[in-house]
């Protein structure tokens, strides 16, 4: 299948969009690279050189001897997780690779997936359930679980607000853990029956970059050392920011009361 110059540019655009959305919904790097080069080859590219790290996608396609196209896209936020989107993108790329739908349809399906957004209530319910369960899981009482659920709501509201600003993930982790730490500390001083440690552990579980870390380890193992290392350092910094926020909160609470 021969693509005209215009179609090649279109294809490149679709590929970048696919890559960006995969990254932003929490796919591992190897999957992003693999998906992009498979689709490119399915559309007739002879060579597809794809380089992806957490903040950049760079694609060069060679169609025939002198026919090259190449573009790079800077990704600003790759920390999100949306498994629904990830699954949709995965089945879309399967369809695209198997029975070549037209570029226009590909584009249309991509923008349809892009417009899907995780509803806020779902995030809220998920966080409440997870925080409450883990507070009890790590040995808290039922009351600790309930308190943890209430603070999970606070985390969600903070996160929702900070996502709309340009604040980096590390900074937002630091800020959220500081706020939550102080609030939990104050409430626990007022109600001595509650255990500050159990409540905080339940809420920490929500903020620990577990997905980023698992993906980092998996990336390094399958040979994407650079992207894996970048991701690993990123997630360690996020975890460090988290610890820093809670530590500061504990110090503040301990000194004041």
């Amino acid at each position: 299948m021969e693509l005209s110059k215009e179609q090649q540019a279109d294809l490149l655009d679709c590929l970048l969009e696919t890559g960006q959305q995969l990254l932003e919904s929490g796919a591992e790097i190897s999957r992003v690279e693999d998906t992009i080069s498979r689709i490119a080859k399915a559309y007739g590219a002879r060579h597809a050189d794809v380089f992806v790290i957490t903040s950049i996608i760079s694609i060069s396609l060679e169609f025939s001897g002198t026919d090259f196209v190449s573009e790079t896209r800077r990704i600003y936020s790759s920390a999100g997780t949306d498994f629904n989107k990830l699954e949709k993108l995965n089945s879309l790329s399967r369809v695209v690779c198997n029975n070549l739908i037209s570029l226009k349809d590909f584009h249309a399906s991509l923008s349809e997936i892009a417009s899907m957004k995780k509803p806020f209530w779902l995030i809220l319910i998920g966080s409440m359930l997870a925080a409450g369960s883990f507070a009890v899981f790590f040995g808290g009482s039922i009351y600790d679980g309930v308190a943890s659920i209430l603070f999970a709501i606070e985390i969600c509201i903070c996160q929702n607000y900070l996502d709309k600003t340009k604040v980096s993930t590390a900074a937002s982790n630091l800020l959220i853990s500081l706020i939550i730490g102080i609030c939990v500390g104050l409430v626990c001083r007022a109600v001595p029956a509650l255990h500050m440690d159990k409540i905080l552990i339940g809420d920490i579980m929500l903020l620990i970059p577990g997905l980023a870390m698992t993906n980092a380890v998996r990336n390094i193992l399958v040979g994407n050392t650079i992207s894996g290392a970048v991701r690993l350092i990123e997630s360690l910094i996020w975890a460090g920011a988290l610890a820093g926020g809670f530590m500061t909160a504990i110090i503040i609470i301990d000194t004041i009361f």
Binding site: G26, A27, E28, R31, T81, D82, F83, N84, K85, L86, E87, N90, S91, R94, K118, L122, I123, I125, G126, S127, M128, L129, A130, A131, G132, S133, F134, V136, F137, F138, G139, D197, L200, I201, I204, M205, L206, I208, G210, L211, T214, N215, V217, R218, L221, V222, A243, F246, M247, I250, I251, D254
Partner: protein
Amino acid sequence: MNEFEILVQLVTAFFGSLGFALLFGLGTRHLFTSSLGGMLSWGLYLAVFSFSKDVFIACLVASVFAMIYSEFLAKRHKSPATLFIIPAIIPLVPGSSLYYAMSYAVRGDVENAKIHGHQTVIWVLAIAAGISFTTTIKELRQR
């Protein structure tokens, strides 16, 4: 640890995993199986720990199980394994020892901070080793 505590842990592990599955927007049809994965891997951890008395071995076995379980589901549903790994592995994440290491360090209790910090590192290494082990086997089978 008595039966009641074990039951509470298994139930909360299930709902904790379910919470994460919802939070990450996992499709409705995968919710039950993936949360079950979290409960099963914690159950396996408890079972192995009860006779080996070794956190590293128990966590390693549990995380290998979680990975195999997720790869199996991924294959069956033709979906990325990432979808199932997080709910299955989340009960093994050492949130508790991380918190205690931090809080003892802040309060100047170096001895306890060391103990819990050491625990955290063991847990993280065991999970990483479990992931490495399964991923490597999978890669070997593909070539």
